[in-house]
């Protein structure tokens, strides 16, 4: 085995707090991203529990209509803009440079800026609660309703623009890092699949986010400077906002799920002891989803009567195809493998079984007449949560359990992890499966209450119980993390027998990441070292 020696820079010691505040180390920034986003996950989760508490019984007055609209708006905004999208940037920050054998991201200072925009933007968004109420028009902020909402919405707009800047410059950083800083021998088609999904995500962010920013600027002008971009009474067009918003926000759904797919595709091969089945097909499917993702936005708008329904229906059906290819490739990876069920694998398999439902129940909206029935009902709420919770959140936990030993040098307890998984899996299905039936039966989303005569009470109560069970599931996880932090760092470089370069260096890695790098001959350099190239 030959390895390439890497020169080792010298570091000045700084006080602990100053070090974290001024760091440009991708690993420390990655950790800051993870802490920040998990904080907002908790906040968003508490807001979700308030929503479910209100809907537990008919004609409930636990929170009033005004508060309810703010709560569900901030639940979605926190979960999407402050948790899921930046949590991938957190994983990407920590893992991508390690996986491609780089010492850091291409632009460390821009990287720090990307992170440090997030906490103030989050505080700004939530500060609405202090100034007469947070945004209450849904995370979709449809105009003209959004023209008349309170100052909380202005804060929300500014916050989302700042978060957009963070993710746009972050995207450029990821792209340059992966294009220019791969280890010797690592061709694009030997790049770990998680990197590939981060790359496609970065392209989507770079192309889509500025469009949202332009829409938000127009909305701000409409609200504050007498504009009428979205006001038909002033010559504007109410539907224009929806076109701009979904032109960003549908690709954004892939921004929210592709890196999760990447994490799953790292974990399955390690715990099935086989390579990812159809690596190239998987890469092309990822690009296919990214490309098609820009041609389906108006499936959110079939009931506006203002879009070309057959075209967007067809493209929406078509985007199911590359998603299906991925599902089959994951199954092919497990097939004839030698599977063990450590915590990361449990959550990865949870992802497969639940994301499958999120993939399938989305196709109903592509059948345009069926969408007329289910659009804006709880069926769609069920769909988005099977994708973003059953998919993305399970992938977040899979990634946390998988990379925890690398990032923090300690391993999480398997028994607590199994309890966490079981509670979360059961709670998730109790919370979100009944929503399919509620939606079909005609319960619209975003209603603060429903009457007893609707007959929706039982299913809503089950859903609420499930949601609180998800909350309970977080207790063993938090105990697990706290207990791990109380133990000394004892993890070897490669506790899982991983395939990719992050497992080559120490756990946690030194500031400069690698003292040396192995030669890269495939997408599984560490496997090649363990078993010899012939076994590949």
């Amino acid at each position: 085995m030959t390895s390439i020696a890497i020169p080792r820079p010298a570091y000045a010691e700084r006080p602990w707090i100053l070090d974290w505040l001024t760091t440009v180390d991708h690993k420390k920034l990655g950790i800051l991203y993870l802490y920040t986003t998990m904080f907002f996950f908790a906040v968003g989760g508490i807001l979700a529990l308030l929503v479910r508490a209100q809907l537990a019984v008919a004609d409930n007055t636990f929170v009033n209509n005004d508060a309810y609209n703010q709560i569900f708006t901030m639940h979605a905004s926190a979960m999407l803009f402050l948790f899921i999208i930046p949590v991938w940037a957190g994983f990407g920050n920590y893992i991508v440079p390690l996986q491609i054998g780089a010492a850091d991201m291409a632009f460390p200072r821009i990287n720090a800026l990307s992170f440090w925009l997030i906490p103030p933007a989050g505080l700004l968004m939530f500060s609405g609660f202090l100034f007469g109420g947070a945004s209450d028009v849904g995370w979709t902020a449809y105009s003209p309703l959004a023209r008349s909402s309170g100052v909380g919405l202005d804060l929300w707009i500014i916050s989302v623009i700042i978060l957009g800047v963070s993710s746009t410059i972050g995207a450029a950083n990821f792209m340059v890092t992966m294009f220019r800083m791969r280890a010797p021998g690592m061709t694009m088609f030997r790049m770990p699949i998680f990197c590939w999904t981060m790359l496609v995500t970065a392209v989507l962010q770079l192309l889509a986010t500025p469009v949202l920013a332009s829409g938000l600027a127009m909305l701000y002008i409409d609200r504050n400077f007498g504009g009428s971009f979205f006001d038909p009474n002033g010559g504007g067009n109410a539907i224009l906002w929806q076109n701009i918003f979904w032109f960003y926000s549908h690709p954004a759904v892939y921004i929210m799920i592709l890196p999760g797919m990447g994490i799953i595709s790292e974990i399955l091969p390690v715990f099935a002891r086989k390579p990812l089945f159809g690596y190239k097909a998987f890469v092309f499917a990822t690009m296919g989803i990214g490309g098609l993702g820009f041609s389906v936005w108006a499936h959110h708008m079939f009931t506006t009567g203002a879009v070309l329904k057959p075209w967007f229906g067809f493209m929406t059906f078509m985007i199911g195809v590359p998603t299906g290819v991925k599902m089959f490739n994951w199954l092919g990876t497990l097939w004839r493998g030698s599977i063990t069920f450590e915590a990361p694998m449990l959550f990865a398999l949870g992802f497969l079984s639940m994301f499958l439902i999120g993939g399938i129940n989305g196709t109903f909206s592509a059948a345009v007449p069926v969408d007329f029935a289910i659009h804006d009902t709880y069926f769609v709420v069920a769909h988005i949560h099977y994708v973003l919770f059953g998919g993305a959140v399970f992938a977040v936990f899979a990634g946390l359990y998988y990379w925890f030993p690398k990032i923090w040098g300690r391993r999480l307890d398997e028994r607590l992890a199994r309890i966490h998984f079981a509670l979360q899996f059961i709670g998730f299905n109790l919370a979100f499966f009944p929503m399919h039936l509620l939606g079909l039966d005609g319960m619209p989303r975003r209603i603060a209450t429903y009457s007893e005569s609707s007959g929706w009470e039982t299913l809503n109560l089950i859903s609420t119980i499930g949601a609180f069970l998800i909350g309970v599931a977080m207790i063993p996880f938090i105990i697990n993390v706290v207990m791990a932090f109380l133990r000394p760092k004892d993890q070897p470089n490669d506790p899982w027998e991983g395939n990719t370069l992050e497992w080559w260096t120490t756990s946690p890695p030194p500031v400069h990441n690698f003292d040396s790098l192995p030669e890269v001959h495939s997408e599984r350099p560490l496997w090649d070292l363990r078993h010899g190239k012939a076994a590949h």
Binding site: P310, S338, V368
Partner: protein, 266 residues
Amino acid sequence: MPSTGKLRVIRRVNLLISAALLAIASISPAFAGWGMPEPITDQAKRIQDLWVFTLIIALAVFFAVEGALLYAIFRYRKRSDELPKQTHGSTALEIVWTTIPVLIVITLFSYSFIVLRDVEKKAPSDALSIEVDGFQFSWQFTYDLARLGQGQAPAQEGTFSIIGTAAQEPTFVIPVGEPVEFRLKSNDVIHSFYLPNFHYKLDVVPGRDNRFVITANQTGEFTGQCAELCGINHALMRFHVRVVERAEFDKWVAEQVANKATVRQP
């Protein structure tokens, strides 16, 4: 000739399938609409047929893939330290599992396209036409005496309206068995006119002339509500429709007309 062991497995699988079918059949009355409420219009029936067709394919895909996943999890768990065969993929398989979904989605698209054309057919010019105004936070239903449907010569000119409030949910009336057109108007924000038993909703957009047609096929009273977040009392924007025979409809119209307060001469 299969071995006896294989035969036993086949028999067992057959037994399992029969038991599953029996179980589904026994609970099926509870799922008469396959999860959807009763369709009360010709268009809703078409949409429900499409829903059922799509659902059957979806369930088939779900059970096939979830079944394969569960099989893999149990069958291929680690039994020894021996490394499994390192298969990197198969172009043939990739082509197969790209082609099959493409064929499925083309089928689904074609069927949904046909249904789409049918449910979006325009109203005949002599159909009953009702203007629906969504406002924060209720509805107004305006009938034009010159457009009361069934090819009747207009008895008189003018309009009458049913106006609701968030506290007083409005009830409007339509006749069964003939096309009824709804013209949707809003002057404030976007609402969505949604009646679950129509299996249909259409947004009420300021500055847009959105209309749709239904033909009710049964009488009764049904409830709908706004489906697009429109402000603080969005949840209270409910309305009711009474579907009645033509004669009763005419009687109801006469009562409304007699109530001069709601009639506005042009």
